[in-house]
């Protein structure tokens, strides 16, 4: 069937956009880059028989560390029919170049590698919204991890956001990757639940981030 136009201000478009942004954060985010959704410019939906619902989105984003610039992207989000166990298929195309984070990444990598004791932190932000500046890269890396969780667990009836980093513990590795084991609190808008997810993230300045382990409340991932 044909794709029908959706009002960008209504929740179906907003939910699909959140999935696309989560996916993009996982792919392109890092300790030096946090992407935020500014606005849904356009949204269409196509109901594909025996497959599912496919959303076509035009999104306006920003890099939280470079707010004056606008990042435009297009995305496709396919929610599979009836299945609760299958993640949506997502494709995102960013127009233009994202600001380079090579220097910041290197600096973060070297700083963590040179720590005598493994990094441990909790409650980021704290109850009053504060994030100590030296923990901001850890906060942004949590955004990458939460992007994975959001992408993997979203349906048309959910909208997830990272509420807080409850706990993070660095795990020293023998290879070149940094590993951080996070306990993330995710807020789901529709049910209003705030629930913990345990996510282990590997990160390397050139290779980017990978979730190596992910365990949610109830069923695992």
């Amino acid at each position: 069937s044909l794709a029908m136009e959706l009002p960008p201000s209504h929740f179906p478009a907003a939910r699909a956009a959140a999935v696309a942004v989560g996916y993009l954060r996982y792919l392109r985010g890092g300790p030096g880059r946090g992407l935020e959704l500014r606005e849904v410019r356009r949204a269409r939906r196509q109901d594909i028989d025996d497959v599912g619902h496919k959303y076509y989105l035009e999104l306006e984003l920003e890099d939280v560390l470079d707010k004056d610039r606008t990042v435009n992207c297009t995305a496709e989000v396919l929610y599979h029919l009836g299945s609760k166990s299958s993640a949506p298929d997502v494709q995102v195309t960013v127009q233009g170049e994202l600001r380079s984070t090579e220097e910041a990444d290197k600096e973060f990598y070297n700083r963590i590698r040179s720590l005598e004791k493994e990094l441990v932190a909790e409650n980021i932000p704290d109850s009053h919204g504060n994030v100590p500046p030296e923990l901001e890269p850890i906060h942004l890396l949590a955004w990458v991890a939460s992007g994975y969780v959001i992408w993997q667990n979203s349906t048309e009836n959910t909208k997830f956001h990272l509420a807080q980093v409850k706990h993070v513990k660095q795990v020293k590795r023998s290879d070149e990757d940094l590993q951080f084991d996070y306990v993330l609190l995710l807020h789901e808008m529709v049910s209003q639940e705030v629930l913990p997810w345990e996510v282990a993230v590997l990160w390397h300045p050139r290779r980017g981030a990978r979730v190596s382990r992910c365990h949610g409340p109830g069923a695992g991932n």
Partner: protein, 376 residues
């Protein structure tokens, strides 16, 4: 033993026959004084309690406790006790404009305070109801209610719009609706949402105070399970907080022309219905009020709010205070979802209290002035 040398400026200048002034912690005097006596050094105690001397100088207790409007910090989050003290202070100090009263008691026995704000200019005036903190973890809500009071009291003499508002209307402001939950979010669980009523069968506490109103109660968008965050309760108005406010609003339904409820987060201005997809009878008036309010808000810092019926803009939910207020005959019923859109979510930094409240004031003033014109 270490001493803090106040005079002379350096130990090098200490000499026989000259005076030296030192400060020590109270418990250090036990070793210092015998030592001086032993060394045959004469001493006089100039200040026996330094802390007290400092407090006397700055005119009373710490900054936070100072009883002045300009002394209360509106750019930090305040505990329930601090907010109650502040309300008492306003009640005493601005008795010509502010009257504090209680509409009932919470589940845990706390008073449910409301501030009636406005000039006693005529016997009968229309009114606006504003509540904040129906959901405990949405701290920016109560922060806004406090900000609103401050702005009203500070500017009603100099700002013609505020003077008009306080002369022609009364405002009923409830800075913290869900007092038990708010307290719990400070002491136990920052992400608590519901009330703190105990459930007989399950080990879970609390009811979603915005699913407990008697309007299509516990239909779509609410849960019958007591452990869920959108639990509608065992029956409508089961929560004493909801029952008390509903009773007050019913009693004053002829007088109250606008109902505004403050929540977070999503950056939205919502109007009925939440429980169904349908257009309200006075859609034209309400929609244009929302449109103008959102534009006024945006004029402050460029922050964009979405607006529309709650069911299509946010989600379908039943038993909400906004829908109930509207059903009860209040022509303008709005729910604000304040900043932000998820980056900090419930944990909005204190540095963002001022811009959030500043822009929201513009929206609220805009709606109020719209209300005073003829469009219902």
């Amino acid at each position: 033993l270490q001493v803090d040398l106040w005079q002379p400026s350096s130990p090098l200048h200490i000499a026989e026959g000259t005076a030296a002034d030192v400060r020590v912690p109270r418990n250090a005097t036990r070793s210092l004084l015998p030592y001086l006596r032993q060394a045959n050094i004469q001493y006089t105690i100039l200040i026996s309690d330094l802390q007290q001397a400092i407090e006397n100088q700055t005119g009373g207790r710490s900054h936070r406790n100072r009883r002045s409007l300009s002394g209360y910090n509106y750019e930090v989050y305040h505990s329930l006790e601090e907010i109650e003290d502040w309300m008492h202070y306003l009640n005493r100090t601005y008795s010509d404009l502010v009257h504090m009263f209680s509409v009932g008691k919470s589940y845990e026995g706390r008073p449910l305070y409301v501030l009636k704000l406005g000039k006693r200019s005529r016997p009968y005036k229309k009114a606006v109801w504003i509540d904040c903190g129906i959901h405990a973890r949405e701290w920016i809500g109560p922060a806004f209610c406090q900000w609103f009071m401050k702005e009203a009291l500070e500017t009603y003499q100099t700002d013609p719009a505020m003077r008009k508002m306080l002369t022609q209307l009364y405002f009923y402001i409830m800075p913290v609706f869900n007092v038990d939950g708010y307290h719990f979010s400070w002491t136990n669980d920052r992400f608590w949402r519901k009330t703190r009523s105990k459930n007989m069968r399950f080990h879970c506490h609390g009811v979603d105070a915005n699913r407990n109103w008697k309007v299509k109660w516990c239909d779509e968008g609410a849960s019958l399970h007591p452990c869920d965050d959108t639990y509608c309760g065992p029956f409508p108005e089961s929560e004493p907080e909801v029952k008390a406010v509903a009773h007050f609003l019913r009693k004053h339904r002829k007088q109250i022309k606008a109902y505004l409820s403050f929540h977070a987060y999503a950056q939205m201005l919502l109007y009925p219905y939440s429980y169904k997809y349908a257009t309200i009878p006075n859609f034209n008036c309400v929609e244009s009020a929302a449109y103008n309010a959102v534009n006024a808000l945006q004029s402050a810092y460029g922050v964009r709010y979405r607006y529309g019926p709650a069911s299509s803009t946010l989600y379908v939910s039943s038993g909400s205070s906004m829908d109930w207020a509207y059903k009860n005959g209040i022509p303008y019923a709005f729910a604000f979802e304040l900043r932000d859109t998820g980056h900090f979510g419930f944990l909005l930094p204190e540095t963002l209290i001022k811009p959030t409240c500043t822009e929201t004031m513009l929206a609220v003033k805009n709606i109020t002035l719209h209300l005073l014109k003829k469009c219902h």
